[in-house]
Subunit: 148 residues, 2 copies
């Protein structure tokens, strides 16, 4: 099976399959004499595993760890569960941040007339936000969105 078929069968684009190989997330498959990658059913299985993990919000590095756990037939389910729970915690933290934004914006929007007049508490809030008090530093900690 060529990369195109593996892509269709796994739902992972050919581009991404090559990328995953280049970063060592998946193993390099055998090649034909002409250099074409040749995949087997097992490879597609792995690709689906990766896709599913990504769709659940795991980063590629986390997916790498999950693959290792998957392949380690003697892993303790407790390890996997702890991993999943930690990830849930991170997801919930992000949800919390987004909800805080929605709450603030919703509050502002509710107080905005929304008519033809120019007065708008939304812009006023943005303009009159308090000056930073702390260090002004704040090295942002964030994960990029992804999914499918």
């Amino acid at each position: 099976m060529n990369i195109g078929q593996a892509a269709t069968a796994s739902g992972v684009s050919a581009k991404m399959i090559r990328y995953y190989e280049s970063i060592g997330l998946i193993e390099a498959p055998v090649r034909t004499e002409a250099g074409y990658r040749v995949y087997a059913g097992d490879d597609v299985h792995t690709l689906r595993f990766v896709k599913r993990a990504r769709s659940l919000g795991f980063s590629i590095e986390e997916t790498r760890e999950l693959l290792a756990l998957w392949r380690d037939k003697s892993r303790a389910s407790a390890d996997v569960k702890a991993f999943a729970l930690r990830h849930i915690g991170e997801l919930e933290a992000r949800i919390g941040e987004l909800q805080a934004m929605v709450k603030t914006l919703g509050h502002l929007a509710r107080h905005c007339h929304g008519d033809g007049r120019p007065d708008c508490p939304i812009l006023e809030d943005l303009a009159d936000a308090p000056a930073p008090q702390g260090a002004g530093r704040a090295h942002s900690r964030d994960r990029a969105r992804h999914h499918a």
Copy 2:
């Protein structure tokens, strides 16, 4: 005021201030003979506006639009409100995606013994995820996290 002071006063790093200038989000300030950027109180005000908008999840391009609305003294508050409501919708969509992930993972984790045995429904789910049925295409639509 030099860029360092503007950064401290606004909470936006000097690096970002220069970047915002380079993409035309903020105006280029006057310079000293030696080439140092010189900022006034108004510039800090604008930077705080930008920072606040970013912290509410607006992208830089959206922030650009908000700045334009802010500077347009004759804008209709309805326009601003619509903008905010649309953004709230996008935030809620992302929250929904994250919640779906949490729900799925939570479900799996609850069914995992979490003991020393290797059997784990979490990994089983990842491994046995259904094959893609549709086109397998799916060009992801996503916004990066940011905030502070």
